[in-house]
């Protein structure tokens, strides 16, 4: 049968057929040159070389390591080291320059902003947001009102030492008392103070609110930190209460809640974790978001 089939020839083209048929339709045999087959075998041999050269076979406790000693982890480490080497000259300039110098040199500013944005995304964004937009209790770094000061030096200090971060002796420590919880002020006094605070930035107050009483309470209890005119004090982290920027919200309930409970947010001292150059870069980045003073 096999011999006979091999002799089957298509009468029209004179070419041999494969002998296969589908409903009377045959297939011409056009054999591929054999060296094409060898290229296929060569790819198989190549695969064997890969097994030997690179990590390949899973074992009980690990995998074969491959004679080339290549490892994806060490490849990443090498790449990171290469990148660091590439950045070294600019990092050295960054370390040598003062913060205002960095902002005045377009090249250094671009570099610091690029590095700073990456550092910010890795370290600061979880609380302050991807673009430094902040949220309730976490300051918006784009705005121009600062708790601990918005100059380059003040921002650098805050990032380095954090706020209310007890591990760092130089951290910003002051804390707002809990006027309600600790019974320093009575509830009606707190409401009066809240109405007065709202009036400072032109917000509406309760009908018939006694602003004079509120002002008196403010002078007696709040002015020590927030200033007699409510303009705040960056040395104590006491916010300016006369602006349109509010960390915990400007509505009546939010202000009453702040006066009642006091306290304040904490921020880690990044000096423990980031290099001085990294802190410089992220300082310039935050300052250049737009709110910097």
């Amino acid at each position: 049968m096999s011999e006979a089939a091999k002799e089957k020839v298509d009468p029209l083209t004179g070419k041999a057929t494969t002998g296969h048929e589908w409903d009377g339709i045959g297939e011409l045999n056009t054999p591929l040159p054999r060296w094409w087959l060898w290229t296929f075998y060569a790819t198989i041999a190549w695969a064997f070389l890969y097994w030997i050269a690179y990590p390949a076979w899973p074992l009980l406790t690990g995998a074969t390591s491959g004679v080339l000693g290549w490892h994806s982890r060490s490849a990443v480490v090498d790449e990171v080291a290469n990148l660091q080497t590439l950045r070294d000259p600019m990092n050295a300039r960054l370390a040598a320059a003062s913060l205002p110098e960095i902002e005045k040199t377009p090249e250094l500013l671009s570099f610091a902003r690029a590095e700073g944005s990456a550092i910010f995304a890795n370290n600061c964004a979880p609380c302050h947001g991807a673009g430094g937009q902040g949220s309730k209790g976490y300051p918006n770094l784009n705005a121009d009102r600062w708790l601990w000061g918005g100059t380059l030096g003040e921002i650098q200090t805050t990032i380095t030492h954090g706020a209310r971060w007890e591990a760092d002796p130089k951290t910003h420590m002051s804390l707002m008392p809990s006027f309600g919880r600790d019974n320093i002020l009575k509830p009606d006094e707190i409401v009066a103070a809240a109405n007065f605070v709202r009036s400072l930035s032109g917000l509406s107050v309760d009908k018939g609110a006694d602003l004079a009483k509120g002002a008196k309470i403010f002078t007696d209890n709040c002015a020590a930190c927030h200033g007699p005119d409510g303009k705040g004090n960056v040395d104590l982290g006491a916010p300016n209460l006369t602006t349109k920027v509010w960390l915990y919200g400007s509505d009546r309930a939010a202000i009453i809640e702040r006066i009642t409970n006091g306290g304040g947010g904490a921020m880690p001292a990044w000096g423990e974790k980031l290099s001085p150059e990294a802190i410089k870069a992220v300082t310039v980045y935050v300052h250049s978001l737009g709110g910097g003073q």
Binding site: K8, P33, L109, N142, D144, V245, G290, G291
Partner: protein, 489 residues
């Protein structure tokens, strides 16, 4: 030939069907013979021209100014620039390459509609390099008959010397081919010096090595196998060709029946008809892909016309009219068989359409190229936050603005804003000129990214307000504009 239909019986025993016919066979070596004639001269001329351009173009110079490379054709991967004489392209202008590829494809279609696979026959790199390698082979090992004889014979020291010389020269050409390729990616004279002193980058040697091997394998060993088994173009062109395209064609009406010269003369003397084809097989002997053109349209035929030269030479010798094999159309084959005069329709809807598309796309690209600005501005609005409320109650939006300067000199850009009432614009890191005007300096052939803050004390109540930024270079020659939005609560 067996005249019975191939498949008429019910299926045979299935388990035996698998070993009916071989799936693979030894590749059949083609020994193209030397040939002289008009098409051979055209092919040789194009070979010298195209290879001359390829090997020498990297050394052509084009002065662009102090801050730019002076190589006429340069793909500067490190700096992401492409230079072609007076044209400099940036990565974002890659659509010019897209347009170029579309025009190139349409030119191929047009060539195919006019004269079949002339790209394959005359201009394809595979054809050109194979032709060059064949010339070397002929020079050293002799013509078709000698080579066949030598391949069948035993391996004498003389044969070993010949083979070594041939492969040596092939490798040198292949190496030079790879060497010329890398010169398009760096300053050619510098790179040549580096290559000679072994101080060139590793990637240059690697590229040369790979291209040496591919050229040697493709042009020296694989040759027509590339056209038969690897290249998609023969399959595509089969779908594009039509009955009015000029293809290398054997004139059946004149050629058949085939007879020897003597027998044809006898028949003609007796008043009977005999074809002009004397079955000398010269057309097959010269064919670089080893096909018999007399079988008609053929998968392997690259339309190079060498068989026309071979047949013309034979026809002259036997005193018959030339062009028994010629560029002709399917329509004319049928008309000639029917005794009608041939018609040539090179101008027809298909060719007009291709030509019109080439002119339209080429024209649009040229218009875009000539009219493109040397400067650019691109803007991204801050997403987080969309807007910021300032202490004073004003609303501010922040934007990342990238300014582009394609000039060979540094340029100072002043930024203005329109579409927003009481808008104040502040550029982080801007410098001030003598008149107190803020500007951003962008280096030659560079871009510069700056942060731009826009604030207004009278924010619109609409949420999003369309605004536009304009950047004007200090010379004021051109102004580039980008549209964006200002967001308010």
């Amino acid at each position: 030939m067996n005249a019975t239909p191939v498949i008429a019986q019910p299926a045979a025993l299935p388990e035996e069907e698998d070993d009916f016919a071989p799936l693979y066979e030894a590749a059949q070596k083609v020994y193209p013979q030397r040939v002289a004639g008009a098409f051979r001269r055209l092919k040789s001329g194009l070979l010298i021209f195209t290879l001359g351009v390829y090997y020498l173009l990297p050394f052509a110079r084009w002065q662009r100014g102090p801050n730019e490379p002076s190589q006429a054709v340069l793909v500067d991967l490190a700096h992401r620039r492409f230079y072609f004489f007076f044209i400099e392209l940036w990565p974002q202008e890659v659509y010019f390459f897209t347009g170029l590829l579309i025009v190139a494809a349409l030119i191929l279609f047009l060539m195919n509609a006019v004269a079949g696979r002339i790209w394959c026959g005359y201009l394809c790199p595979q054809t050109v390099w194979t032709d060059l390698f064949l010339a070397v082979e002929r020079l050293i090992e002799g013509d078709r008959r000698d080579r066949m004889h030598k391949d069948a014979g035993s391996l004498t020291p003389r044969r070993i010397l010949e083979k070594t010389t041939k492969h040596g020269i092939w490798l040198v050409i292949a190496w030079w081919t790879g060497g010329a390729w890398v010169l398009y990616f760096a300053d050619a004279p510098t790179l040549v010096a580096q290559l000679a002193t072994f101080t060139a980058p590793f990637v240059a040697y690697a590229a040369i090595g790979v291209l040496t091997l591919t050229t040697y394998a493709l042009a020296g060993h694989m040759r027509e196998q590339v056209c038969l088994y690897m290249c998609p173009w023969p399959r595509i062109q089969a779908a594009l060709t039509d009955e009015n395209a000029l293809n290398v064609t054997y004139r059946l009406d004149r050629g058949e029946p085939r007879n020897s010269v003597k027998k044809a003369a006898l028949l003609r003397r007796a008043g009977e008809r005999s074809g002009d084809c004397i079955d000398c097989l010269q057309c097959v002997a010269v064919c670089p892909t080893g096909v018999d053109i007399r079988d008609g349209a053929n998968l392997g035929c690259i339309q190079c016309g060498l068989c026309i030269d071979a047949c013309d030479a034979v026809m002259r010798k036997v005193g018959r009219p030339t062009r028994l094999i010629a560029y002709d159309t399917d329509v004319n084959i049928k008309r000639r068989q029917a005794g009608l005069t041939p018609v040539y329709r090179l101008v027809r809807p298909r060719t007009i359409l291709y030509a019109a598309l080439i002119v339209a796309i080429g024209g649009a690209m040229l218009y875009a190229l000539v009219g493109r600005s040397h400067y650019g501005i691109a803007i991204i609005h801050d997403r987080n936050p969309l807007y910021v409320r300032l202490a004073s109650g004003a609303i501010r939006n922040a934007y990342t603005v990238r300014l582009t300067n394609k000039d060979a000199q540094p340029r100072k850009f002043a930024l203005t804003l329109s579409g927003l009432k009481d808008a104040k614009i502040e550029i982080v890191g801007a410098e001030l000129d003598a008149s107190g005007q803020e500007y951003v300096e962008v280096g030659p052939d560079k871009t510069q990214e700056v942060r731009v803050l826009v604030s207004t004390g009278a924010p619109p109540q609409t949420g999003s307000t369309p605004i536009s930024f304009a950047a004007r270079a200090e010379e004021g020659r051109t102004q580039v504009v980008a549209a964006d939005h200002f967001w308010s609560p």
